[in-house]
Symmetry: C2
Subunit: 314 residues, 2 copies
């Protein structure tokens, strides 16, 4: 390997990752930065960057950098950074978030269909008010994005006896679903859905893909769930569609701007559930393990896991 | 058939069932009673009773009665009625409630693990407060009762990647689960569980089976879910166990007395969710269809579906 490999860990609590990586026996020297100032100092010495929301202007000074491992599944901010040399590899975490994100989706769908709001209120009033609950069974769910996250949503939808449609860039994934649609088939895809779930990466091809045209093609009783990225949806057009009852509601974990500004109408629109980007939490141990394995591969000159096609954007 | 077969429909809204049964082409003349007074008048003319909470003392005057079809899955009140002749057949609805009840169980478990209470409060305050959610995956769920309802709970637990234990009177059902326990093995069954779900029928063998001894064998962080019958649990002992933190909480849809009395401590005990017997709603169309098919079988002298073993009690 020649000179010692240096990996810079950048996030709010880099020491938590360093401790775990050292326990696993890191093949690299580990540097830690917890603020943009520290990152600016250490960026020029890093061969490898393991990071969450790295300040994009600092890529210009990272002259030794050969590889960036994102701490999450989405890498839209990294691939879009103009200062990041095209020759630098980018990898993302794969196969870790699907289970958690699918739990989020079904936790929210079930809370609505079983009317938890009414149940909790009745309990608070010591009031016994039976009613007939609805069911997820038999409804049609459409999942845009059939990667490892979409795949887990499909699997749970099957257990709830739903009909499952999917939209994907690659026809290979259609075997997972009852009906597959291509990326130019949004309108026929959404037309019959009870629930549309966005589990797509944010790329130039998907940015703003859910706008007025798609929202107007949805059924008035249908629901939008976004666990992908906020900018998949044109938020202004979503607000208008909700106000005009083009769809019945939305469950949103991601937004064009995060934190969601206090003045956003989404906080209080009827039928809208807002959550603060909690659907797919990183588990430090798992993310550290993923990076550790990739770091060993890197040190040994082997192919990396989760390699991003920077032209496709994911 | 000789004289015309007469079926008495007894529930709050018997006409809803009569309309459906007539549309299906009933082989019997259909009588309707919506109150105990009407039932008292019509009981002596009924060959068949299709009922929900029939007044048990009226069985004495039902001298032509040969068969009772319950409108639900539980028949504890019917088999326990001393005035019901031992020769009268009892049938219950089977294979209709599993999906709904399993949705109830996972809706409530997911709402806890994803902390919906905190999410809803933060949204009401327009406050962006991310946190790391827990997960159902990897937890051990134990299901007491592996009939059609327990079986559906097992199926959904698998989709959430849980370890599944089961307790059943019959070893045949053990193949569904990772570890099976017999009815005399409650203590080893509950010892390692994160969640104990009761999906048992109420019989002399199961009444009060979950009392202080079982509750004390549970882990302090574990949760009890009752979707069976209230009297499976000794409620006073459950309240004490919750107060003494022998377990962390309970999700209760059924109670010793229903409606749950306003003075019950369960309404306000920390960690307790109370719902008004809504986990397995009857769907009129499906229940009517089930009875219709059984009525045709009865008229043709064929075996009935959902036949209850009155000695076993279910």
């Amino acid at each position: 390997m020649g000179a010692t490999l240096q990996a810079l860990i950048y996030c709010r609590d880099p020491e938590a990752y360093r401790a775990r990586l050292e326990r696993l026996g890191s093949p690299a020297r580990l540097l830690c930065a917890g603020s943009p100032e520290e990152a600016a100092q250490l960026a020029p010495s890093a061969d490898v960057l393991f990071s969450w929301h790295f300040p994009p202007e600092l890529y210009a000074s990272a002259r030794r950098l050969r590889w960036v491992q994102a701490m999450g599944a989405g890498v839209d901010d990294i691939v879009a950074a103009p200062a990041l040399d095209r020759a630098v590899w980018v990898t993302r975490i794969v196969d870790q978030f699907g289970g958690m994100i699918a739990e989020y989706v079904f936790s929210e769908l079930l809370a609505r269909v079983r009317d938890h709001a009414a149940l909790r209120l009745a309990q608070a009033q010591r009031s016994w008010k039976p009613f007939k609950a609805g069911t997820l069974a038999g409804a049609t769910i459409g999942i845009a994005g059939l990667g490892s996250i979409g795949g887990e949503i499909v699997r749970k939808a099957r257990a709830f006896d739903q009909r499952v449609y999917g939209l994907s860039r690659t026809a290979r994934a259609y075997e997972l679903v009852d009906r597959g649609f291509g990326q130019d088939e949004w309108l026929p895809f959404v037309r019959d859905l009870d629930v549309l779930v966005l589990a797509l990466p944010l790329t130039p091809a998907t940015e703003g893909v859910v706008g007025a045209r798609v929202l107007e093609a949805m059924r008035p009783k249908s629901l939008l769930v976004n666990v992908g990225r906020g900018r998949l949806v044109r938020e202004v057009e979503l607000v208008r569609a909700l106000q005009e009852r083009k769809l019945s509601g939305a469950i949103l974990d991601v937004f064009e701007e995060e934190p969601l500004p206090a003045e956003s109408p989404l906080w209080t629109l009827p039928g809208v559930t807002v959550t603060p980007h909690v659907s797919g939490p990183s588990i430090v141990d798992q993310v550290a393990q993923f990076f550790h394995e990739n770091l060993q591969r890197f040190a040994e000159g082997r192919t990396l896991q989760g390699m991003v096609d920077r032209a496709a954007g994911y």
